[in-house]
C-alpha cells in the first residue's frame, strides 16, 4: 500500500516542476534544506539584521505597533531579515525592548516560505523513481 502511494505521489512532484517554475519553487519542493554551500571565503560580511519578536506589543502605543508592522512583523516569535541601513536600525531601536537582533550574512537570509520549509520535519523517504514513467 505504501508503495502505491509513493508511486502516485511521484508524478505530482514532477508536475509541479514541469512548467519551468522558478528555482525557489523547485527548492521548496525538494526535501533537501536550501542551505548554501559551505562558505567559500572564511569570513562572510554581515549584511543583514535577523529580527525576532520576543515580546508582544499588545497595549503599547500605536506608533510602536506600527513600527513592528513596518518591519513586517505580525506575530510573536516571527523572524524577519532586513539589511543594514539607518532606517532599519532606527526601527529596531524603537522596539528594542521587544525584539532580539543578530547580524547575519546575506546567505543566511530566508524568506517566510524558506523558513517554513526548514522547520518542516523530513519525510523519512526519498522518491527514487516511478513505474508509471517507465511504462510511458
Amino acid at each position: 500500500m505504501a508503495l502505491t502511494t509513493l508511486r502516485l505521489r511521484a508524478p505530482a512532484l514532477r508536475l509541479s516542476a514541469l512548467p519551468r517554475a522558478s528555482t525557489t519553487q523547485l527548492r521548496a519542493a525538494s526535501t533537501q534544506q536550501p542551505t548554501p554551500p559551505p562558505a567559500e571565503s572564511p569570513v562572510e560580511p554581515l549584511t543583514h539584521y535577523r529580527i525576532t519578536l520576543k515580546r508582544s506589543a499588545i497595549s503599547l502605543p500605536e506608533r510602536i505597533k506600527g513600527t513592528l508592522e513596518s518591519l513586517g512583523i505580525h506575530r510573536r516569535l516571527q523572524t524577519v531579515y532586513h539589511e543594514h541601513s539607518q532606517i532599519n536600525a532606527g526601527k529596531i531601536l524603537r522596539v528594542k525592548e521587544l525584539v532580539e537582533v543578530h547580524n547575519v550574512p546575506a546567505s543566511a537570509v530566508r524568506t517566510k516560505t524558506e523558513q517554513r520549509h526548514e522547520r518542516k520535519a523530513p519525510r523519512g523517504y526519498a522518491v527514487v523513481g516511478s513505474r508509471l514513467d517507465q511504462s510511458l
Partner: protein, 105 residues
C-alpha cells in the same frame, strides 16, 4: 470590628490589587535579564556599523552593569517617598526604557 460586614480594604474599596512595595529577588533578577537583552540589541545594531541619531541616543543609555541598583529597581516619582517609587509601579514597565532619571534624584 469582626463579622461578615467588617470594614476591610476589600469590602470598602471593591477591587483591590496589592502591588508589593519592593520587587522580590526573582523579579529583580528578571529585570536584570531584560536589561541585558536590550543591551545586546543595542550592541548588535552598533556592531552592524550603521550610524544614526537613534543609535547615538541608545548608546548614551547606561548599560546594565553600569547602572546602580537604585536605578534598576526604582524610578523617579514626584510623589514618592524620597522622590522614588518601585519601577514595577510604572505601567508597561517591562517593555519601556526607564534607565535614566532626573539628575539629582
Amino acid at each position: 470590628m469582626f463579622g461578615a460586614f467588617r470594614p476591610t480594604a476589600v469590602s470598602l474599596g471593591g477591587l483591590l490589587w496589592k502591588i508589593p512595595w519592593r520587587l522580590s529577588t526573582t523579579r529583580k533578577a528578571n529585570v536584570r535579564k531584560r536589561l541585558r537583552a536590550v543591551d545586546s540589541v543595542i550592541e548588535a545594531v552598533r556592531a552592524s556599523g550603521v550610524e544614526c541619531g537613534s543609535l547615538n541616543k541608545a548608546l548614551e543609555l547606561p548599560k546594565e552593569h553600569e547602572m546602580p541598583p537604585k536605578d534598576k529597581y526604582t524610578t523617579y516619582s514626584p510623589y514618592g517617598r524620597g522622590y522614588r517609587k518601585g519601577i514595577h509601579k510604572v505601567p508597561k514597565w517591562t517593555r519601556r526604557t526607564l534607565r535614566t532619571n532626573p539628575k539629582g534624584f
